[in-house]
Symmetry: C2
DNA sequence: CTTCATTTTTGGTATAGACCAGAAGGGCGG
DNA sequence: CCGCCCTTCTGGTCTATACCAAAAATGAAG
């Protein structure tokens, strides 16, 4: 798989990357349109797009559907072992976090959820869907499930902040253990729509299960992140 | 960004995905060629490729340059907080790990490495480049740097196994702390070539810094993973 | 000023055709 | 049997064109 350095789209890619690295185009700024990038220099739009796709995979640029290509802001650093919640760690990095609650409903425990929570199928659960943004750009959508028996009337509390602190202050439920799974994925229909990206774009699937001191599942959370919005950082002392 | 379900390439994608999910095509098996997938049903090769790219992003299939598309094997689970080394945790999952040493050289400490190791620029260091595979498929390339003063004559030891255990048994150096950073990236020229993938494909960049009990940097390791080869899993007790 | 409808621009999808370099396979000669 | 060459197949790149739907810009009307 040797590469001859002479591929057309790689040249286009590097030219654009240079303009970004050189500060000519700043984070959040819009790139010239694909047709403008052709300039007339005998390059097909498909070739321009190939270059843009590469930069997108690198996290250098992102797109808004039918609006244009934009320079990506720096990613948020996330340490799964330190659990302060989205709002505080984004703020700690000098960024502006926001949360929107997309829906909150009471559901019946499904066959998938039952073994996770150790509760019978049909038991009442709360499901909360939220979208979280950094500096106005949506970076993740999440679906949280909580056992209704542990936190009755949860949905009447404010849900646009830290759910963990609501559970602690209103129900005296403390998280003692966290299990986090992460895997690259493609964003499908539902998540892509909520993140306002094209379906099929790469993303990161983060599944977090929180347990209390008795080992009961407090919170089951599935998050879909934009692949370019996150940087994972873990610092551990070996026992 | 509503999507009308009627897009041609999504239909093609789902048809192929169904054949894989249905067991007609098994992990490691080769898909029919792009031109064969056109069948004559009035679909352009570009549309077929669009569908294949999506499945690739999802980790369902992967490609070998100019050879064909293949069904992906399941990913390896990796827990950055548990540090047994590549060989043992891959084996523990019933897979066959292999390591090749691509190069091993003594280098002078660079301006980038100097502050990491707390050593002057020009100090002798060892640099080891390795490629690691699972069941015969290359999944990562890594570049390890070790301070030569801490592990004199390191390069004469066998390097195709666990480096950590070599450091421990031969030099009595134990890792007390690990720092791991992970970020989605695009695989560039060098890594892509070593992994035998096309340059620009998405990957995961893992940077691990290991410290001993005195806080000295024992090992600085930069890994580039295929994006579809890895699943990250962390389990932590909250203090 | 705001509001609403229209036009323009933009990226998204799709077709068709072309050529290339590398992989794979077959056959030939040793 | 092995090794080498040549052909075939395959994905990789690129051009050119076309049409669509959504976003953005524009302009008219209130």
């Amino acid at each position: 798989m040797t590469q001859p350095d002479s591929l057309h789209y790689l040249g286009v890619r590097d030219a654009i990357a240079a303009r970004i690295a050189g500060g000519e185009l700043k984070p959040g700024e819009r790139l010239p349109s694909e047709r403008q990038l052709q300039v007339g220099g005998g390059v097909a739009r498909g070739t321009i797009r190939e270059a843009l796709f590469q930069l997108e995979a690198e996290g250098v640029i992102y797109r808004k559907d039918r609006s244009g290509w934009y320079v990506s802001p720096p990613p948020v650093v996330y340490d799964p072992t330190r659990w302060e919640g989205f709002m505080s760690y984004v703020e700690a990095q000098g960024r502006r976090p926001t949360t929107e609650t997309l829906s909150k409903t009471e559901i019946a425990c499904t066959p998938v959820l039952a073994p996770i929570f150790g509760r019978p199928v049909g038991a009442p659960m709360y499901r909360i869907r939220r979208r979280r943004s950094v500096d106005g750009r949506a970076v993740l959508v999440e679906t949280i499930v909580v056992d209704a028996a542990m936190a009755p009337d949860l949905l009447s509390h404010p849900l646009d902040g830290s759910l963990t602190s609501v559970l602690k202050s209103a129900y005296n439920i403390a998280v003692a253990r966290n299990r986090v799974d992460m895997q690259p994925c493609a964003l499908t229909r539902g998540e892509a729509e909520a993140l306002q990206v094209k379906s099929g774009l790469p993303g990161l699937n983060v599944v977090r299960t929180s347990y209390d001191a008795q080992g009961r599942v407090v919170e089951f959370d599935r998050e879909y992140w934009r692949h370019d919005a996150l940087k994972i950082s873990v610092d551990i002392r070996v026992r």
